[in-house]
């Protein structure tokens, strides 16, 4: 039986006070991530898969590759589709049902990072221009919610894509013929998302659940391998000053490099 997820007011105060003096309740520095554990290839049936544990937050991503029609305005490119499910077993606060605004926002933010950084070489996923292309499905499955789903999901999605293998094929008479062997999904960029929470006017990186419940608002900055920003999403009810936004961008530069080293190696 889980104790109610509502953070006791006394604890809320403590968290906020500590942050004012530059410390966090779990001992981390303001810009430190929790411990990250990454496993890939955990689901053999999927073309690619990964499981990320960010502190106690756990997200699994599976990729599936299908064949379908391209978008009419971009007839020579493969298609990317990202979906997220906040599965009820992940938190007493998740209800079963169709995707709600939180899971839709999560999917779209992760999607933006991959799409805008052109991480997948979609031109190489064309089978028959205008008619047949590969469709890459990225499905985010949240298994345990303990704060900062965006960063965990973005990491797991990238790892799953890097783990994705496509079958070799030949086009014969308009039909796809599978040949032996596999090739990795062609990737050229590695987007990493860094999420900041604003608490007592300070920015903290990778808020865990209780910090999320205390925070006024959050900002996610996604950067690609050359340190350029490819996606930003402010979420939650409060507001940021211009200085805070620019400060976050600077910190993100450092953090994304750190995290990318874990991913591209692992």
């Amino acid at each position: 039986m889980t104790f109610s997820p509502i953070v006791a007011r006394v604890k809320q105060k403590r968290i906020a006070e500590l942050i004012s003096s530059g410390k966090r309740l779990d001992g981390r520095g303001l810009t430190d991530y929790r411990e990250i554990k990454l496993e890939v290839g955990v689901i053999e049936r999927a073309e690619g898969s990964a499981r990320v544990r960010l502190g106690k937050t756990e997200v699994m991503v599976g990729t599936k590759i299908e064949v379908g029609q391209p978008f009419p305005d971009i007839p020579n490119e493969g298609v990317l589709t990202v979906n997220a499910e906040l599965v009820p077993l992940a938190s007493p606060t998740f209800e079963p049902g169709p995707p709600d605004e939180n899971s839709i926002e999560l999917a779209r933010v992760v999607d933006r990072g991959i799409r805008e950084s052109k991480a997948i070489e979609v031109e190489k996923l064309c089978i028959e221009p205008g008619k047949k292309v590969f469709i890459v499905f990225v499905d985010i499955y949240v298994l345990n919610y303990d704060g900062n789903l965006i960063d965990a999901s973005a990491m797991a999605a990238l790892a799953a894509l890097l783990n994705t293998k496509m079958f070799n094929y030949e086009v014969e008479g308009g039909e796809i013929k599978v040949k032996p062997g596999y090739a990795p999904l062609p990737m050229r960029n590695y987007p990493i998302a860094v999420t900041f929470a604003k608490i007592n006017d300070k920015l903290v990186v990778d808020p865990w659940l209780e910090e999320e419940q205390v925070m006024e608002t959050r900002l996610t900055i996604t950067m690609e391998k050359d340190g350029k920003i490819c996606a930003i999403q402010k979420g939650g009810y409060g507001y940021f000053s211009l200085e805070q936004v620019l400060e976050a961008a600077k910190i993100a530069r450092e953090k994304t490099e750190e995290l990318r080293k874990l991913m591209v190696k692992g």
């Binding site: 029609q69 978008f71 009419p72 305005d73 971009i74 589709t81 995707p99 605004e101 839709i104 926002e105 999917a107 779209r108 999607d111 933006r112 799409r115 805008e116 950084s117 052109k118 608002t217 900002l219 690609e224 340190g227 350029k228 920003i229 490819c230 996606a231 930003i232 999403q233 402010k234 979420g235 939650g236 009810y237 409060g238 507001y239 940021f240 000053s241 211009l242 936004v245 620019l246 961008a249 600077k250 530069r253």
Partner: protein, 257 residues
């Protein structure tokens, strides 16, 4: 590299794409300079039944915003004991875009409804009216890029028109990068054909950024420039917001005793 929506379109309606979006004199297709806003027209108090309303035209965008509330929450169990519940629905009419859009809420509309609500809430004194709801409706009648920003600007005026106490107005504007140049207030064609789109919402007196999104490709230095460009656009639109509220309540010259 052309940008695209994530919704699947089966019928090819792609218009012939313009050769260049900005010419060598830094003039855009619609004749604007890089940092020029589209022509804007705003009115408040346009709907009879809503408690507050506003209508905005920004370039080809035509957007209506309406407020109902504060009033009792339906369904009852959603009521919050210590504050008002803000709900927001951003929706595009089926005829608002080039290819008919299904009336069912798309994933984009769900996300935008959320970020718009989160952009307006910091400005409203929700603690004043516990157990009530304030419902915000934004209907896009015609769309041409930057609809979430124009919708936000109108919705904030509608809240003021409804007499709901606020800390500040909220005003929004997008900036971005098109063909290597930093531009203000992108149209749909510029958003699709350009490299960066960055919508931003601001509470001008408190200097608080309540909406910030971006997709594209920017160095950290360019990012700072684009944000400042968007803030500048916001401040110009804010002057118009105030004018609109003032002209609704024009103080008639009275014959003094």
């Amino acid at each position: 590299m052309p940008k695209r929506k994530t919704e699947n379109k089966r019928l090819d309606r792609s218009q012939k794409k313009p050769e260049k979006l900005i010419d060598k004199n830094d003039v855009r297709i619609d004749g604007r300079k890089l940092d020029e806003l589209r022509p804007v027209k705003i009115e408040v108090g346009v709907l009879g039944n809503a408690d507050g309303s506003a209508y905005i035209e920004q370039g080809k965008n035509k957007i209506l915003a309406a407020i109902y509330g504060p009033k009792e929450v339906h369904p009852r169990h959603l009521a919050l004991p210590d504050r008002s519940l803000l709900r927001c629905r951003y929706h595009m009419a089926p005829f608002s875009v080039e290819e008919r859009k299904s009336p069912a809420p798309s994933r984009r509309e769900v996300e935008l409804s959320k970020v718009i609500r989160e952009a307006l809430e910091p400005s409203v004194f929700v603690e004043y009216y516990p157990r009530t709801s304030v419902d915000i409706f934004i209907e896009v009648l015609q769309a041409d890029g930057g609809t979430r920003c124009a919708g936000l600007t109108a919705a904030s005026l509608a809240l003021a028109d409804a007499g709901i106490p606020m800390r500040d107005l909220v005003v929004a504007c997008a900036a971005g990068k098109v063909e290597g140049r930093l531009v203000l207030d992108l149209t749909d064609v510029e958003d699709k054909g350009g490299e960066v789109d960055l919508p931003l919402a601001l509470m001008p007196n408190l200097n608080g950024i309540t909406l910030l999104q971006m997709d594209g490709d920017l160095t950290v230095d360019e990012f700072e420039k684009v944000v400042n460009l968007a803030l500048d656009g916001c401040r110009r639109l804010y002057a118009l917001q105030k004018e609109t509220l003032k002209s609704k309540y024009v103080v008639k010259e009275a014959v003094e005793e």
